[in-house]
Structures are given as C-alpha cells and as structure tokens.
Subunit: 77 residues, 2 copies
C-alpha cells in the first residue's frame, strides 16, 4: 500500500459519499469550509487531506470520520 493508493481510495470514497448525498463539489466545500478546488483535487487523489479536513468532510457528509476511514480501508483492499 503506497501513499498514492490511500489518497486515491480516499478520493473514490469521498466522491461516492458526496454523490450519494446529492451534493456538488461546491456544496460540499461550502459545508465543510474547504476550497472547492481542494475537494476536486482530493477526489482525484492528487492531494491528500489532513486529520482536520477528514473530520470536516465527514461532518459535512453526516458520517463519522472513523466510518469514512473504514470505507477507505476497504477501497484500498
């Protein structure tokens, strides 16, 4: 498992949860108080979130941060 694998898995999970919540990248960014471009970069796996950003994104998606990370673990495989 490399850093890139984890970032890509996180990005896929984030996009999936965002789509399930019917939120645009803009809406999620606003709700989580992060830049819209940062959301886009995270979803593409080219930037990785910090601990605080993980918690903010999870809260904005109404899921626990630990549940979000558990999904990433499954996605990394």
């Amino acid at each position: 498992m490399t850093v890139g694998d984890t970032s890509k898995a996180f990005g896929r999970v984030l996009r999936e949860l965002r789509n399930a919540a019917s939120l645009s990248q803009e809406a999620l960014a606003l709700e989580a108080d992060v830049d819209r471009t940062f959301v886009s970069q995270i979803e593409r796996g080219i930037r990785q979130p910090s601990l605080a950003t993980i918690f903010k994104l999870a809260a904005a998606l109404d899921v626990k941060a630990s549940s979000l990370i558990a999904k990433v673990e499954k996605a990394v495989g």
Copy 2:
C-alpha cells in the same frame, strides 16, 4: 470541535497506543517511516497528520486506521 481539539485528541491517543506498545518515539518513527520530531509534535497536538501518516502510524502500531480514528472521536468527546 475545533482543528486544535482534534489534533490534541489524536496526539493523546497516539501517545497512549505507543506506550501500550512499549515503543519509544524513535522506534515508532522508524517503524512508520516518519521523523521522530514529527511524532513528538503530533503527540503534543501542535502538528496534525495527513491521511498517509495516519495510515502509516496505525500500521506501525498494528491497529486499523479506522480504529485509531474511532479512539480519537471518543477522545474529542
């Protein structure tokens, strides 16, 4: 919940798990492939880990990243 609260909670949980594993900061740093000073700063809550660092620290401590984050959620309260 602020960014600082989450970082401080992560630091407390990390120190607790590291002590439970009877590892020094140096040993954990070596095992997780991060700087020893970074481990110290994370434990004091003055720096926060990235997604990749969370996964590396969890692996070095032989716990799941999602379990580590679940402990942080409890510690934040």
